[in-house]
Symmetry: D2
Subunit: 437 residues, 4 copies
Amino acid sequence: MIEKVFRDPVHNYIPVDDELIYKLINTKEFQRLRRIKQLGSSSFTFHGAEHSRFSHCLGVYYLARRVTAIFDKKYADIWDSSESLLTMVAALLHDIGHGAYSHSFERLFDTDHEAVTQDIILNAETEVNHVLSQFSPDFPEKVASVINHTYSNKQVEQLISSQIDVDRMDYLLRDSYFTGASYGRFDLSRILRVIRPLDNGIAFSIDGMHAVEDYIISRYQMYMQVYFHPASRAMEVLLQNLLKRAKYLYPKEKEFFAITSPHLIPFLENKVTLEDYLSLDDGVMNTYFQSWMQSTDKILSDLASRFINRKVFKSVTFDEGSSSELKDMRELIYALGFDPEYYTAVHLNFDLPYDVYKPDVKNPRTQIEMLQEDGQIAELSTLSALVHTLSGTIHGDRRFYFPKEMLIQDDLFIDIKEKFACHIKNRQLHKTQIQDK
Amino acid sequence: MIEKVFRDPVHNYIPVDDELIYKLINTKEFQRLRRIKQLGSSSFTFHGAEHSRFSHCLGVYYLARRVTAIFDKKYADIWDSSESLLTMVAALLHDIGHGAYSHSFERLFDTDHEAVTQDIILNAETEVNHVLSQFSPDFPEKVASVINHTYSNKQVEQLISSQIDVDRMDYLLRDSYFTGASYGRFDLSRILRVIRPLDNGIAFSIDGMHAVEDYIISRYQMYMQVYFHPASRAMEVLLQNLLKRAKYLYPKEKEFFAITSPHLIPFLENKVTLEDYLSLDDGVMNTYFQSWMQSTDKILSDLASRFINRKVFKSVTFDEGSSSELKDMRELIYALGFDPEYYTAVHLNFDLPYDVYKPDVKNPRTQIEMLQEDGQIAELSTLSALVHTLSGTIHGDRRFYFPKEMLIQDDLFIDIKEKFACHIKNRQLHKTQIQDK
Amino acid sequence: MIEKVFRDPVHNYIPVDDELIYKLINTKEFQRLRRIKQLGSSSFTFHGAEHSRFSHCLGVYYLARRVTAIFDKKYADIWDSSESLLTMVAALLHDIGHGAYSHSFERLFDTDHEAVTQDIILNAETEVNHVLSQFSPDFPEKVASVINHTYSNKQVEQLISSQIDVDRMDYLLRDSYFTGASYGRFDLSRILRVIRPLDNGIAFSIDGMHAVEDYIISRYQMYMQVYFHPASRAMEVLLQNLLKRAKYLYPKEKEFFAITSPHLIPFLENKVTLEDYLSLDDGVMNTYFQSWMQSTDKILSDLASRFINRKVFKSVTFDEGSSSELKDMRELIYALGFDPEYYTAVHLNFDLPYDVYKPDVKNPRTQIEMLQEDGQIAELSTLSALVHTLSGTIHGDRRFYFPKEMLIQDDLFIDIKEKFACHIKNRQLHKTQIQDK
Amino acid sequence: MIEKVFRDPVHNYIPVDDELIYKLINTKEFQRLRRIKQLGSSSFTFHGAEHSRFSHCLGVYYLARRVTAIFDKKYADIWDSSESLLTMVAALLHDIGHGAYSHSFERLFDTDHEAVTQDIILNAETEVNHVLSQFSPDFPEKVASVINHTYSNKQVEQLISSQIDVDRMDYLLRDSYFTGASYGRFDLSRILRVIRPLDNGIAFSIDGMHAVEDYIISRYQMYMQVYFHPASRAMEVLLQNLLKRAKYLYPKEKEFFAITSPHLIPFLENKVTLEDYLSLDDGVMNTYFQSWMQSTDKILSDLASRFINRKVFKSVTFDEGSSSELKDMRELIYALGFDPEYYTAVHLNFDLPYDVYKPDVKNPRTQIEMLQEDGQIAELSTLSALVHTLSGTIHGDRRFYFPKEMLIQDDLFIDIKEKFACHIKNRQLHKTQIQDK
């Protein structure tokens, strides 16, 4: 085929010269990713981060293309070049099951974007499956197994999913570019120069140790600064509380929801088909929320309005064992007329920035291996003091969210608000000293 | 107030330390701009260009803030620093009336985003008006007059709207950043160093001549390469034909549209209030188009599906005086079963990259003035050979759009398609030689 | 060989995996380029522009490597891949004959860096010749002929030297990067995507028309803004006057020059060997000038001191036919005690940004050809209005340089200085009106 | 004065609008910094890193200007704005005593660039002192005391010199830009937004914690990857051995050195004046080395030639307690005809990336203080796990350098070379196992 090219702000030009890839991009399931934001509610905090999952998936494909082109050319002895196309296809499709505001949505409606990804690839009704099957009848199964971590070739699997894979490399660069955060950048060129296939996986030449270290640090910083940003999580808990209210109201307000939000009905009824799932996207959800603003239910309309007009909840961090203070705060919030069920939330965000392989844990990590001059391999954290620090330790925080109104010191309810303020110091929940008598 | 800051990929940090500005940003009318893409259908061509009008408007405010800060500090003799806040507010709000897919929409439904901008600022029902009026009762009128080009102070007006203004400077940089096109960049720092207030307008020190020249060239290149891209226009004509079909069907299918697209009804009925206008955004429109895909009208459902799934029309450029060839092509298209009314379109895009002041034309341009060492001013095109070339000349093309199916050479209808292909050469309409008898 | 890699700020990583290239880089003649600045006296104006010819030559090699890799892979039918190594070698060595402050030096001492380049390649005494001959006895001749424009394969020749070649592409990007000027950037990736070998030369696919246009504009802007900068030229004329004074003094001060500047003697004696030429570099020249600051000749020591300590001459532009004004100004300068022979200069800088092929002129240009969809070619300026404007027209200015002291208005010699000032308006020479009697 | 502006690739434009600053830049002592590379022998490894100390000093001035402008505007209650000019001047001049290849040179000739800096500022013979004294008679002393860490205002002192100061911030960004290394970048805008004067020093708002953390990590990475690069250190030890040989030869070859390297004589004689010191720069030194290539002393001429033509020594890392292996290797080197005194070297590079204030150590560090919402301060490493890891720990390595010839496996001396190779494994010195009998 004649090469097509996509102009991409992160990778400059993304070429497509394989008919299969081009057809997959043009399926309706893949085009749908244009209507789903990569970072969901983060765009309310970082207004540049409106980029779609479509752009991320193209980027992941592109990185897979670059790596496999290097492997094909330089490491034909140890890399089977007939795996390259499969790798690119799996890269392109790895996120195809993502839905609107996935994280919040899945929590409320018991869906699972990974299962949907498998379904889109394997279900004979989809255009994606049709294109893959036409290429070769066993191709859908192969692609699904790579994404599912059950494929036999560990080289392919680790390129697609490991602690340093084409997915993470693209999203760090891309999210950094679109948010404007300076943290997610790392030396991609260097990493592409030092990546090597091993017999049963992937390694990196020791020459690139500092580039790999920098990638781990960058990823850590993006989690701390961008992905775990308190304001984005404020929008996430608002959304969860809104959907929770909708679920609660649905049994008695079926007609209202049928008119305002028809494609949500299967989720509210808990009878969801793949087609139902694919009919939702960010725009559809926002359209529904906008109509809910007209609801006669005060809580539903108020939460919808707060979400649409970005009235974020405020928050404090807290430690385990603060339940009495949280209880107290919830009561003060209730005293001001807010139902704590819908106007407060606890939100935990934790990440394990890196870990060595631990066979006994659930979903053990594939550790990052560095290849030395004499062919021996060494695990990354044994070489890098910084990675060693991050290895095996989780980072993040617990936050308690509440309406901004609690902090506005006006004359009304001044007593309640002052009591509330006493619980907060330096943006943290302030543990009350229990006085001995 | 405590300074707030927005992380912006183009300008890095955008600080807000004025209460009025902060309140305006938090109005629902301004937040709504988050749901409207800056470049409309261009994001189908440049997948990075998902950025919103919200981000552009913040950027324009930021540039106004930088320019007025310089004027306040350095040119207090000739610049009235009490105009600075007004300038920033006008910059922030200049595009607030933009709607979903404005250009196509306005053509079909006779709306006008500039009139809506005035309305949002002046209409006592809006939060924007409320905030402005609270600040000062005459402020809505003043802001509206700046945007409306009727304000008395020409310095302010030219900063907001002229051939080199804060609006254009932001959108060139921003659209360049998000599309990934390399063309729109220019030396903003230099331009901010050389911009000067005059008694009745704005000028630029001669030291910055090449930076201003480069800005004009960059703008020209962005028009040719990005804004006039044939594929984006293909989506635009598709959208126009889709809306045209909806208008045609509406009288006989009122119920269908009432259910699938309630907020469009006032437009189809031609009874539009400001609230109706503000209830539409990109996501709402796309949600409606997605439901139209289920219509029993083949044309409506097919066009909706083409738009949602990005099945772009193809095109050729043509010259005036090609009507007989176009007529012939439309007949061949009809012969293949496509109604030319909805499956073809003529689309013209022309821009006047720069012009000198011409008092006799409609909407004369404010020419760009360069300030020389001795205080004399000289018009830009007298100094720059490149700008002189572009001055007063329009650039762009005429395109004829048709379904991609016309170019796919398969066995079916081979005769018709071959005849059709004869009309095209090097992507242009090929003028048939008229044979003498 | 094991691939070596050079970290390059412009192209990121420059890999070398050919033994021949690596050996050439390690010759003493090539390493010498580290000691010669790419932009000579421009670093006095743009303090970041300290980059060496070494870095530029590596960059040119790198671009030749990228282009030939594309040609080898995609256009093997029309491009002879056995020419690739030759192309890279010619790219690497094209500037190897450059000397310290080449332009000024050549004017004074009748040397010619192009002839020296040929000599270094062909002279059996050099390490470069040794490496090339070892590779193949006829290789020095082949490389020299490519650089000399006499090689039979016009594809190779045009890659190395034409209006859009690997040399110019590297220096625009590199000089832009190191000066910090924003003008020299263009879309290199795009140009590499559209470059094509023809039977007897090079063309660019029509898809890249705007990228090629942008390259021409960028080059024009770099000439106007950076290469022709008045302050850099001030240092150049200072250097020329300094060397002129040395030449004048040499016959009577042979011993002084033998001690202070031994490697200049062959040039002052006009008996220069290749070894003599190669013994000079920027550091050696500056070292000599620093010792000349101790000369008993007031003019020599003063000019040397002005050069070393960056006391730039001032200048005005002037038109042809200003000889009477210039004569007048020189007299006023003389009246203040400055010998016009050494304290003034006329400096012309003109560039022809683009031209079509004109067989009758001396050194006709190879015009830039755009390849259309049907295989026809079209010359660039027929497609681009901007290039058409620049085509065949020369741009630049004439400047008259004089000591800064002429402009300092203190009490001494106030009359003379006022008369002098009358000749200048808006940094231009002000033509005196000749009064009719 | 009329504002002057320097085009800077790192900071874009550097404005100068203070007469004093402008005059200082134009002194011969400051202009001399143009002839001294910021990174000395690193440019042999990173060919882009030819940037001068002149550019760095301007950059440090610029950052001081930005910080003090913020302090003047926002923190006038706690910052004395009459200190701003002093801060800028100290920033500009902090490195003015640096000489050619300072580190190697100082080791051999017992000079001290910090003492020279004081001397240039205080010595009545210099133009710098003249300009400062003219401004105010006590200004030289004040500037010198800031640089000397004895000034009373700790805010000023910490801005100029602490673990996060304008010097380090500029060199990280600058060295990163010119080497092309991706590591040295950090979020300068953010740090400038959060820097605050305290009563007796400088702090950073807690909001910028991650930016400060990132700066510490970036600095660490630049040390590991750029400043401690083995190849740069190879050139440094070569230079040291070369100068050592010159010192050794000088007593018997006085005339040779008087002719070839006149300005080194005071150093070889150990009778150095400030003028002598200032007469040396990178170009002068290289000129001398080039003439030494003609020496009849084989070692001097060979080492000079290796330095000029970049024939780097190779190296291995080793641990303390490897003296027997090193002894063995030196003997093998000697057996191949190389005098280990001049053809080997041990080079240690260690850095302490961050430390808290430790009153008992020599030169205790000023720890980095973060300012919390309630006004309390917290030391950085108590907040950042990454900084905590680096705090108080030194990083770097020991290297043993030797001629590359030892590793070239040809037929000659194959036995010696094989023995030598046994000492090396994975680029490290391989500890021989001592066998028990």
